[in-house]
């Protein structure tokens, strides 16, 4: 296996080579890498790969890591089924009583 074939984003099966290519083509933020490659768009929402990709962006663009911010977090930040998200609202506390 070549280094470029190492998987970086496991959820979306995005390889090191694909991420390096995205950066070479001009992606300078985590959001830009995400939009080009889907890295960080899977089940874990980038919790696993973001730090690694941030380091790659820093390595190739020279930006300090402090300036590489996570892409915008939008709800749901955890895995929630659409039917629940769009479904009726319930009271969790009353049920407990």
């Amino acid at each position: 296996m070549k280094d470029k074939d190492i998987i970086i984003c496991r959820c979306e099966e995005v390889t090191l080579g694909e991420i390096e290519k995205a950066i070479a083509e001009g992606a300078t933020t985590l959001a830009e890498v995400k939009r080009r490659t889907r890295a960080g768009m899977g089940l874990c929402q980038g919790r696993t790969c973001s730090k690694v990709i941030a380091k790659l962006i820093s390595k190739y663009t020279g930006q300090p890591l402090k300036d590489i911010l996570p892409s915008t977090f939008r709800p749901p930040v955890r895995v929630v089924k659409l039917k629940i998200l769009g479904g009726e609202e319930s009271c969790f506390l009353e049920k407990q009583k």
Partner: protein, 364 residues
């Protein structure tokens, strides 16, 4: 929509301690956790804690958790388990969901105690079954009583790597080696000595080059690193293992704090971007408090104290504690935090956290 006084997100040490303090003072507290039981990592921690007596030294993590849960019960903390907080919205609204329904909860004060997630290392074969985080290995061994393999390679010699290696030995596995990329051992000497006495080699300036196997881990290749941390060609060694355990640091779980619009600062030694806060653990967003690993990766003992600070501050801000009484208690806890952040490992964290602990002002 329901309205409560205090909502705490995350029932690890910080969240539990915060809930107990706020509820003890008289506030109505709802504690939310995505797992099926509260306690965070504490129930995996079958080892005794370090430090002085007042920091629960000598007590095992699981017993600390049991005591905290008893206190939650005693002071009437309402706990919502198997419930994720999927978002924070305007006017202190929290989106909650369990496996059947969603709910929107409004809270006068919110305490985020979401903890941290494990870092990974990417090398050829890291996605093979058998490569796992130290947290996963601990959960399998200590909570579910399952030993995922017989021959373990541990990556990382910090306290987590050392302690989990020892637990793997106790559980009946062979720890073939602990590899450490740095030229020195990361964790406490006392843990490292214990592991060495048990005959486990700790290979400094080494890393894993690749892991191989057909359907699961069958072996790994480790390699020596030079002074610039570059692999030395020809120093590769093939070893037979069925588990490769990664213990290479933690990453603060800050999604909700970002979503709320908190201001952040980047401190690599504390895990990366963390929300700025004051000595009451109050973030830059009104009514939003933060405590534990998401404010910088430390230990369960510091998370407990930060949680207490947040809980007390919230109770005070809601009028449940007189200023004088709260100030006295908080000053004691801040002293505890300074004591916990002592020694060669704590000192750096104390220095890094110091700017946040100067007073009511919330600044970088």
């Amino acid at each position: 929509m329901e309205l409560v006084e205090v909502a705490v997100i995350g029932a690890g040490p910080a969240g539990l301690a915060a809930s107990i303090e706020a509820a003890k003072a008289g506030a109505e507290v709802v504690l939310i956790d995505e797992n099926n039981r509260p306690g965070g990592q504490l129930f995996k921690q079958i080892h005794k804690f370090f430090g002085s007596k007042s920091h629960m030294a000598g007590i095992r993590g699981i017993n600390i958790a049991t005591k905290l849960l008893e206190d939650c019960e005693k002071f009437g903390v309402k706990t919502l388990l198997n419930t994720v907080a999927f978002g924070l919205f305007e006017e202190n609204r929290i989106g909650l969901a369990n496996k059947d329904k969603k709910s929107i909860l409004r809270a006068k004060r919110i305490i985020l105690a979401t903890g941290a997630s494990e870092n990974v290392l990417n090398f050829p074969g890291w996605t093979l079954p058998g490569v796992m985080g130290a947290g996963a290995l601990q959960t399998m061994m200590n909570v579910n009583r399952v030993l995922p393999g017989k021959r373990i390679l541990m990556i990382g010699s910090g306290n987590v790597g050392l302690i989990v290696s020892y637990q793997a030995l106790q559980a009946g596995a062979k720890v073939v080696a602990i590899v450490e990329a740095a030229p020195q051992i990361g964790g406490y000497g006392v843990h490292a000595a214990k592991i060495r006495r048990a005959g486990v080699p700790i290979l400094i300036s080494h890393t894993v080059k690749k892991v191989f196997g057909n359907d699961c881990v069958e072996g790994a290749v480790i390699v020596r690193l030079d002074k610039k941390w570059k692999p030395i060609l020809g120093s590769e060694k093939k070893i037979k293992v069925d588990v490769v355990c990664l213990s290479v640091g933690l990453n603060p779980l800050t999604e909700l704090a970002w979503m709320a619009g908190c201001k952040f600062v980047y401190i690599p030694a504390l895990g990366g971007h963390i929300p700025i806060h004051n000595w009451n653990m109050e973030s830059s967003k009104k009514d939003l408090y933060v405590a534990g690993d998401l404010t910088g990766v430390e230990e369960a003992s510091t998370a407990l104290e930060e949680g207490k600070l947040a809980g007390l501050a919230v109770a005070e801000s809601l009028g449940y504690l007189k200023r004088e009484k709260a100030s006295k208690r908080k000053a004691e806890i801040r002293e505890q935090l300074i004591a916990l952040r002592a020694g060669p490992f704590g000192e750096l964290r104390r220095k890094l956290k110091e700017p946040f602990m100067q007073g009511d002002e919330i600044r970088k």
